[in-house]
Amino acid sequence: MIDVERLEKHYGSFVAVDDVSFTAAPGEIFGLLGPNGAGKSTTIGCISGLLEPTAGRVRVLGKDVVVERRAAREQLGVVPQEMALYEDLSATENLRFWGAAYGLRGSTLTTRVRDVLATTGLADRAKEPVSQYSGGMKRRINFGCAIVHRPKVVLLDEPTVGVDPQSRVRLFEMVKTLVADGTTVLYTTHYMEEAEQLCDRLAIIDRGKLIANGTLEELRGQVGERDLLQLTGHFDAAAVEQALGAVDDVEVVQVEPDALRLALRDASSRLPALFDALTTAGSEIRQTTLTEPSLETLFIKLTGKELRE
């Protein structure tokens, strides 16, 4: 269970995390979706104790991470965005060290290390120094080091960036195994397909602010059943608004001199009529992109920009 309450983190006058609140429950994957620089890692840092919150409160299993540091940390496993491994040591040695750092000893430690090597699929290369691993293997062992001690809460910060498909599948399986065991998982990503595929509940973060929060269904409901139509070319805002006002059930999401974004039902069958209306209004259309309803469209609708910029 993670409880984030009105969290703020400032760097000087820059506000990296601004009044963020959410709750992640046991046995669920809570996704934090946002573009680069949105404040995902900063949020994770405040939960893991790496960063001191400027304001607000974070509790892990009811323990305040600032006041009851140690108690909060013992139940926490952190998979940092950047690799955090001893490159000169083997997978086994890394796992043993981090397991020991979380208080495991003796046969328990040995068993857990063996288990993690099996789930990460690294058992047959466990003795090699990590420096010889591929990027995907490093990601897996980086994950493994955070879960040797079977934490009740796991924070994953963009664990699939730059990962081969095979490792990605393996990482997803590992995450799903964790939640099946009742672990609370906070999963940050800037890939919306990942968030859609993996997360039970989601918050969308942009420029430090939460702009949406709910289950996948709730968020999809916010977009409605409408497609997103993106046009580039030449547009006159006033003329476009006027022309489309006459067309049923079309929402102008955004209009700029060279770009137009519309939300509408059954876009594909209504394209010819739309184009007619637009060209009559003096617009010039160079390119069109049609996107079905998704988190991506929600994000664009909420922020006026694409997720991967």
């Binding site: 790496l50 960063l51 013992e74 955090a84 040695e93 981090w98 750092a101």
Partner: protein
Amino acid sequence: MSRMALHAAAKDLSRQAKDPMALALWLGIPILIGALITLAFGDVGEAPPRAKLLVADEDGSFLSELFVGLLAREELRVLDSERVPLDEGRKRLDEGEASALLLIPEGFGQAVLEDTPSELELVTNPAQSILPQIAEETLRVLVDVVFYMQRIVGDDIRGIVDEMGGLEATPSDEEVTRISVAVNGVFRRVERYLLPPVLEADTATDAQAPSVDVSVLFLPGIVLMALLFFATGLSEDMWRERSMGTLRRAVSAPGGVGGLFAGKLMAGVVIAGVLALVLMAIGTFYLDLPWRVLPVAVVWCAVTGGVLLVLMCWIQMATRTPRAGQILTNAIAFPLLMVGGSFFPAEMMPKGLAAVGRFTPNGWSVAQLKDLLLERTAPTELLVPLLGMLAVGLLLFALASRTLSKRFARAS
């Protein structure tokens, strides 16, 4: 934290074991220099006749002073040197009062620094045969020592001397940086000179029967040299841990990053102990020192190594980049080595410099160690200084851990 520290120590020891080159380097340079020194003050027989050497120092530079100082050492029993003005020297040699006259030409110090040929002129007394030869041999070896030292560290000394020439009362940051860069070059060059086996072959034939006295004076300084190399070298691991991300991971572990740091220092004490054991054992064997002081000496060195390590780690953490950390620690280590008696024992240094040297951490440790080896103090008398050193070490640890956990470990 204590259990975390033990695991972290074990982790760092096994990491160190995978990098034997570092160990070899920390040991190799001091051993090489020790061998050169043994050569220089090597086997001169039981009760050698003393050659009277007159020295006319026309140069009067720091280096020539150092050289004359070396010649004047009582331990150099073969030579009885005396400083004279040039014309007086010539006159006395003509009158048959001395075996030889050594003329250090003006510009000698500069020439050594610039690696340009500079002739030391030795005028011998034709009436004598053996004594002038002894003087000549001794000189030749001493010149070799100066030559090799200059080979190894010359560029850097030169750089520093250049810089100092232009220094005002307080050097600017830029000047400090330039000096630091110069100093930093030392270590890379030293590495280079370790490699050719030529030198080893050379020394092997001559180093059979070293003398007792003078080399004993060098031994503690040489051990401390290894410890300073080790401390500066291992302190760079703070940056490695930071760039590997392991420090950040440790921050969110229950044992905290303090436990990890304590473990690193514990591992450091063990490594320092091993380095000291090897060097002291070699020294004890060759120099015929009492074996019974060895354990205390090793403990002393191990603790010294730990204190130097925590100091260097703290300095690393005060810098902004790994490169700056490397430069700064080396820039501090090098002068410490110089004045702390690692290149020349305090007994051979100009008085003022030696006095300063005693107040450096390594110089102080060298002095205690020397007293122990020469049995001027009983091992038990070292207990109080040892506890004092531990106290300083703990204080430094507390300060450095603060820097580490508040700032250094949290940065990305």
